[in-house]
Amino acid sequence: MESSSAQASRLLAVAGNPNSGKTSLFNRLTGLRHRVGNYAGVTVERVEGTMTFADGETRRVVDLPGCYSLSSNAPDERIARDALLGLLPDTAQPDAVLVVVDASNLERNLYFATQMLEVGVPMCIALNMIDVAERHGHKVDAAALEKELGVPVVPVVARTGQNFDKLRESIREARRGQRLWRMPAEAEEALNDLHVAVQACGYLPTVSEEAEALRRLCHARDEDPFLARGGDELRAAVTQARARLEAASIDREALESEFRYALCEGIVERVRSDTGEGDTRSAAIDRVVTHRVLGPIIYILIMGLIFESVYTWAGPIMDGIESATGWLGEQVARLLGPGMFTDLMVNGVLAGVGGIIIFLPQICLLFLFLSILEDCGYLARAAFLVDRVMRGVGLHGRAFIPLMSSFACAIPGIMATRSMEDRKDRLVTMLVAPLISCSARLPVYALMIAAFIPKGYQGFTLLSMYVLSVVAALGAAWVLRKTVVKGKPATFMMELPSYKMPAWGHVLRTVAQRGGVFVKQAGTVILAISIILWFLATFPRSDEAVEAEAKTRIEQGASETDTANWAGGEKIRRSYAGRLGRAMEPVIEPLGFDWRIGVGLVTSFAAREVLVSTMGIVFSVGDDVDEGSVALRDRLRDAKRPNGTKAYNGLVAISLMVFFVLACQCMSTLAVIKRETNTYRWPIFCFVYMTALAWVGSFIVYQGGLALGFG
């Protein structure tokens, strides 16, 4: 099946348990030059890259989904198996496979490795995480393991790249493995008969036929495509073989596991020695972190600390950025002199883009901390703590990763629900993911908090918004489960990886990438929108009419500064943007918002963070350009209503933030939901319920606050 053309067409598959360091290894091997796509027709991501050997030869490498066992029926593990057998439409059977084995978790990893030996594809083993094994007090003899298994075994540390040269060489020396264990005679005979039947079908690669026969003997179910392809003869063969097992009192379901683990235990005993200096730090940490009482307390403390630090550390940098933007504005004004272009530059571009760039430090810091937490293993414990709650509201355990991803952006989160087997579980998760506070909401929170929340409470308020979004998501799930998507929970097991020091390179790279995307977005889409917005807020021009009225007001006794402020606001009110805002006012007034926020709400449908740019522009336009820079925060605080009273305060800020927590403003999210559910019904439902929730939520907060005297 190998084409005669370049060696680059040869395919290496990388397989292994989840958490075995497979991805780090793959990244190191391919040097991060890889693409992410979809396995044709199926919704599990496919990652393919290229590796280079010492002599320059290249080879394609595909990273298979993490797999605990080839006998599994979970969607992603099935993909791994189908890929290894060459049954996927766009992937031929790999020429070689690199199996990653976690040395600190040997028995379970060898379970998978021994299954791989039986598949028959030339194989090489990367014995990863030997550093972790050593820390646990275990020394694994790679040479001995190689003798036991019959294929090359190379000890490596994927995180640091240790011994990778040897690994690359050994890939070329990959060898075929074989079954290393024997069953009782009756079982061997039953297997043999089935093997013959499978051979007769002829659609599996010859080398893998026996392994698959064994798998089907133990685990096949009526609806398996395997049985469908083989037809009645195959079914009959399976039934017969199973009958033989039963007659011999052999438990077919446990057959493979019992023998395979017995084999692995034996191997481990022979290749691993205890150095006696076990490190029980992970266990000790866990005793505290997952403690019934201390656990949640620690969780809250850590989260609180993170959010508070984000504010304290980001503060000075933000001030710096602000001064720089202000200074820049003054220079531009001086250089270009008065005119429409200058106005556009200073009150449009700088106000809009500058308004949002200022939040770059906060975004970077927040994701730095979260990245560290995730990398060191803590977040898995968080999932553990939260699981019961999730199940209590009707969310499946697997919803944790989609919902976690939604803290960055709901869209990949929604796509991640494909890993959930039950249709209703998927639907509920998809409908609830947009409630999780995505990263686009962060600048909005940040602005409102910086403007209206007193210093000591800033971190706490930010945290509260995130907590609110989680509570809202859980609550919505609960309600949905009881009404529109009635259902029940499903099973869930999760491995808790041992604690480790975060991989700083990876962490910093993530933060840099995040920040990079943010800045890029600001410099392109937001810049363009700011320009358009400036025009909408400046035209149609009403300068003469407003100046005339201002004169009248002063003649009637109004103060000069007040009138100047009013004039600035009035000019915008009469522009296109202003008219739009005013049209919305009746609907949003009960929430404490005025027409300026109204304009922002409309523009935030382009992207939530555009609200910040919009506020920046709306509060700049109409000002004299050479007035010197005033921070947007201050402008918001000083903003006045037509009757002269303050337009906004802390209560309005919270009301607005609550609105953003609950509202569905991302059209792209709705588009993805439509694509994933194949109907318009659910995205429309999502939009309606979230908008209603947002309005009601804001209403309660604002009116409630007024009633309690906070206005």
């Binding site: 497979k22 991501e45 999932a383 990763i401 890993s419 889409v525 358009i532």
Partner: protein, 52 residues
């Protein structure tokens, strides 16, 4: 002169937004890029992450 410059910028801005929108529809990603960075991150997380 100033007015001309401003109008030109507006034209660019509108064209750019239109182009991004078309790219978005073509690629299916909300940012119009060929690969969604958030999706990549999530894929990495799943592959690194713990689930059964």
């Amino acid at each position: 002169m100033q007015d001309l410059a401003a109008i030109t910028m507006l034209a660019f801005a509108v064209t750019y937004i239109g182009w991004r929108y078309l790219r978005k529809r073509a690629s299916g990603n909300c940012c119009g890029e060929s690969e969604c960075p958030a999706a990549r991150e999530m894929v990495d997380r799943i592959k690194r992450g713990s689930r059964t």
